[in-house]
């Protein structure tokens, strides 16, 4: 068992992070844009090419920022984004909370899996010109092994991808 755990941890873990968090907030929603960096290690890319479905779960929270008081979360959403290579059709099938896409190659798939623009419903009215920021965190949700392999390497984590919370101010016109 120790060897299994060790072998799991022996797989090189990337240091993913969320960058370029920005966006606008107006009306009843905020649109948050950000980029997921270093989420795909070479092993994950190879795994993706091998038909392993990879899913990320993105958590986005929008806070109203107060200078002399605690920030207040006005909206949050959990967004799921997964990609799988269809070996028969030779396309990458991208499934997201806001829609599905077919992508012709790995580059397009990786680009679409690391660039996000997510709509977050906001509770109440948005104060124009007031400071809001978005907090974003992403983590690997699933490495979709086949049933057979999942029963074999149930102790192995394969990859451990989880980012810290990243923050970025939203424009509130």
């Amino acid at each position: 068992m120790l060897l299994v755990v060790a072998s799991g941890s022996a797989v090189a873990a990337p240091r993913p992070k969320i960058v370029e968090v920005s966006g606008t907030i107006q009306g009843s929603e905020a649109r948050v844009r950000f980029t997921l960096q270093n989420a795909f290690t070479p092993e994950m890319v190879e795994a993706l090419k091998s038909g392993i479905e990879i899913s990320f779960r993105i958590t986005v929270e929008v806070d109203r920022v107060y200078r002399a008081w605690f920030d207040q979360t006005v909206g949050s959403v959990r967004h799921t984004s997964s990609v799988r290579y269809d070996v028969l059709s030779k396309v990458y099938r991208l499934h997201r909370s806001d829609g599905n896409e077919l992508l012709p190659d790995i580059h397009a798939a990786l680009d679409r899996m690391t660039r996000f623009e997510i709509a977050v419903p906001v509770n109440g009215a948005v104060d124009r010109g007031k400071p809001y920021h978005a907090r974003v965190r992403a983590r690997l949700d699933k490495a979709g092994l086949s049933e057979t392999l999942r029963s074999i390497i149930f102790f192995s984590s394969l990859w451990d991808v989880e980012t810290d919370w990243a923050r970025g101010f939203l424009h509130s016109p």
Binding site: L3, V4, S7, G8, L88, T148, S156
Partner: protein, 732 residues
Amino acid sequence: MTGERGAGSPRHEAESAKRRRERWAIGAVAFLVAGLTLLEAYLAAVGGSVAFSSNIVIFALINLNVILVVLLIFLVTRNVFKILLDRRRKILGAKIRSRLVLIFICFSLIPTILLFIAATNITTTSIKSWIGGRVGQALSGALEIARKQLETEAAAMSPLAEEAADRLASAPAAKDPADALRFDRSPTREDAVLLLVRRGAIAARDGTIPPAVENEILFRLKGIAGDGAGKGHSTLIGEEYAASWRPAGEGDRVVAVKPIPPAESARIRDIARAYDEYHQVRLLDDPIRASYVGILILITLLIVFAASWMGIYLARQITVPVQMLAEGTEKVAGGNLDVSLDYTSDDEFGTLVASFNRMTADLKAMKRNLEEANVSLSGTYEELRRRTQFIETILDNISTGVVVIDRHGRVSMINKVAGRLLGIPTDRALGELYRDVVREEHYEAIRGLYREAGETGGGQVERQVELVLGGKKVALRVSLTALRDDAGEYLGLVAAFDDLSQAMRLQRVLAWREVARRIAHDIRNPLTPIQLSAERMRRKYAAAHEGDPVFEECTQAILSEVTTLKLLVDEFTRFARMPAPVFSEGDLAGEARQLVETYRDAHPGIRWEFVAGEMPPVWFDPHQIRRAITNLLENATAALSAGGRVEVACSFERDSGLARVTVSDDGPGISAEDRDRIFEPYFSRREGGTGLGLAIVSAIASDHGGVVRMRDNRPRGAVFELEFPVRPQGKE
């Protein structure tokens, strides 16, 4: 364990509780390991939608599992070390326990390790063969064939799609587009489905296909921007369909779909899945192998430690009762029968321990019975010893000699008197054959009597015999009695000897006294007339026979002899009329010392010595005893006319309660032929002796309940012993 260390002993209780805790701990650990492992497997299986690698529950379970396995290893290792320590301390049962544990561990280790190696090799080989080139090529080829087939099917749909697109382009806009899709097709395309896609949705259809296929086609068409048909993107294939599409103006698209039969679709799906898995396996070669090895290691460890613990448990099951039995046996061997082993089981060991406990209980009961019997026997033995001692005391203090001879002719009892009478050392005679003990002439005499006793039929005979002991004839009355038990079985012989010499001597003395009295009576009467007549003759005829020496000599002789006869008669009278002794308590040694002093003054030519030991007050008649001692001293003085040495000794024999006065001289002694007669009256070898001195001593000794004896003095001379009880009968 045992009565002390057993059931009730605190040490055993604590040890048992500890063992129970260990068993529970090991069982709980093994159970938890198995349960948690299964839980992890379950979570891993159902947790496909969660990132279980970052799930704290999984981590906690894994770590807990590791801790539990480590704990299991610790417990087993601790037990093994404890066994080794017990073996080094040479604790009973440690050897067999260590052997059993070693055997169990070997029996579990060897096949498990072999199985582990084989399984690892098989797994590695299987994975290698699975990800080998041939499998990959075959899968790739199969997938390519499936794709080609689907593309062929899709290409076959292309004319149909093109014809439908042309029809729609030529049809009036107001006409139902579905009508444009309905036209006669060639027989080979009758199963095809025509779809009209307008603004991303199905506007019209001819035929039916599963909704999932429709959605799939719509989804894929969305990803194709513009007129993709001209760029070779007019075909779509999937696991369940093969399609070809054409633009139909104003953004509309006509799709001709060929549904793939379900069986064929399933085969294609399987090929695609196998291809995916193959690539996944290739990619995850090391983790898969590590997982297999890890699982095998876990199983191996669990088997090894479970087997080891089972070995320890079984060994303990076997050795604990053995150890208890060994310790119990050691205690029993040490004399402790209060051992009771506290071990209950329905197996053979339980039976053995129960038998042991029963045995110790029986032994204890037997010991208690033996102790009670021993106490009883001790009492009986003490009673018998007292009785025997009493009988021996009686036999030693009676004047009769008693000898008991068993059926084998061995002397089983002999008292002192018998030993003295027969001249046998009593301490060496016991257990010896009587014929080897007694003298030849005595043996013949006893045998004759024994034979006579047998002939009488009554088994008893009594005779008076004369034996020669120490050169002196002794008259004995011998009584032989054959001993028989209630069944008439011959047990042996009892011989009783009575010394008749003293009695005979007394009889003779009495006879002589009677003779002396008659002689004195008969002689005394004529002596006075004879004396008076002789004196008258001398007075009357003295003048007439003056100068005649004969007359003077004769009358003088008559008077002289009459005087002598009167003295003799007086002596006879005293002998015949010896008064009864008047006993008083006095100092016997003092009386003897005074007499010795008197004789020392009167006979300075003789060396006189007096020895006296510690003497109690003695009951005796001083006049008679002084007379007896005087007679003995007189005899010694007479024997030492030429000088010599006389020793007078007074002693007391505590055991027999006898006082003894011994007069020894170194004179000529008594000849052998005179020894039997010296105590008889009127026997004297001394000139002028009356022969009454020793007879009177003998009579005085007899009157005092004692005896007077004579023996040779060494190297020369004679010894006279006057012996009588310190306290006569009636003076207790």
